[in-house]
Symmetry: C2
Subunit: 231 residues, 2 copies
DNA sequence: TTTTTGAAAGGACATATGTCCTAAGTAGTT
DNA sequence: AACTACTTAGGACATATGTCCTTTCAAAAA
């Protein structure tokens, strides 16, 4: 990750309405970093000294076992805080983070933030609200993962990226760019995702043509999803 | 849950060193509730108006699917906050809560707490630290559950409640009072827990005698747990 | 002591999902 | 066009875990 000294945090602070959180006098203390697709941004166990704010791009958060194999993860887009828990608990990094696309982060040092907290309550409040949202989302996703099989989760996911208007189904941007990533997103293996996709195709719920997935029967899909909404 | 007007929050505030969090002038606004084993304390979807602080007893936090069946849960002992996320996000209750033993909660209304936040930053900080800890623990447990089979988790659990001294193994208090509860704690079915226990007994790692579990081979257990520590 | 009840234990079977491999398709590069 | 690399697709098999039942057992109640 490379610091861009010429860049100004200002633009991003405006864009994401962070001006109440970071007062004028604090902004010169903030840095702007740029990262490239594929960069390993943080590794579990590392010592952190700054909080990072994802303001552009997409990242992947995952856990590696000591045995090196399995992983669990989420994809994150702006606005997302990295290192908030580490800042509050003064822990080492818990999850590893990798860049899925090019992107930009703002950063502020733990020390500066601790000072900021002394005379600027909105920042503490911001942290609190961020964490509450994270906790809620995390719990929601975990429950979904543990309570329902991949088929249901996939159905929910497809519903979440589709919207219907005048009988036509529009696909919003997929959170994932290919099936492997989709498998990771759903927390399953690529092989299994394929199996489930095949079943849905056989049941005439979706149709697969050259790598893309088209919804054929929205109603059946809704029934499958059991009213769950992903994210 | 029954309010005990005669009771005083003071004792508990002392015991858990909450005096910096709740200043003198705020304490008269706090209530003391008593609950009985088996009471359903909160149900998912309910509207909350107070934050609750578990100061005595054991509770169970779980999720029910609309289909009524499966559940996921954790057991909690003091000191634990209930309703913190709900307070910050103004959501309805996310998980249901049930009393496992008799116990006591302190409570303070959202409205009073919002006022407190205005002129008493330590409370916001307390919320933040609590949430960070919760988030961390939650993530840790989730990872453990998703990455390792029940056998490993059970091994970790047994290790976590055992301590060795001069060649003798001491069992600390189990978090659970019977095998069904242990199965819930581990997030598996009772049947499966039994299967795994049997395997461990066959492998001479543990020994089962009239309902209790004794560790026979600590080393094998440690290898099985792969260095993971539960909670 | 007999009866009842709930916990403990496990057999039989089904299902979700993972791992390992192979093959076919597609796009980019030489 | 030939080659390479990556994605898609799926066969074969193993494993973790769930569901449903039955039996055993021990403690509590009659």
């Amino acid at each position: 990750m490379k610091e861009i000294k010429s860049a100004d945090a200002e633009v991003y602070i405006k864009r994401y309405e962070l001006d109440k959180v970071f007062p004028e006098h604090f902004r010169p203390l903030m840095k702007v970093y740029q990262f490239k697709k594929g960069n390993v941004l943080f590794s579990a166990g590392e010592e952190l000294e700054e909080i990072y704010i994802l303001v552009d791009g997409k990242i992947k958060i995952f856990t590696l076992t000591p045995e090196g194999k399995s992983l669990i993860n989420r994809f994150k887009r702006p606005l997302e805080l990295i290192g908030d828990v580490e800042y509050v608990k003064r822990n080492t990094v818990f999850n590893s983070v990798e860049a899925v696309t090019d992107g930009v982060m703002l950063a502020a040092s733990f020390a500066d933030l601790a000072n900021l907290e002394q005379d600027h309550p909105p920042f503490t409040r911001f942290l609190l609200e961020t964490l509450a949202r994270k906790f809620y989302t995390e719990a929601h996703t975990t429950n979904l993962n543990m309570l329902y099989p991949v088929e249901v989760r996939l159905a929910s996911y497809l519903l979440s990226i589709s919207s219907v208007s005048e009988g036509t189904i529009f696909h919003q941007e997929m959170h994932t760019s290919n099936l492997m990533e989709l498998a990771e997103w759903l927390g399953t293996s690529y092989r299994h995702l394929n199996r489930v996709l095949k079943k849905m195709a056989t049941d005439n719920i979706i149709e697969r043509a050259n790598g893309s997935i088209a919804i054929k029967d929205l109603e059946k899909l809704s029934i499958l999803a059991k009213g769950n909404i992903y994210e």
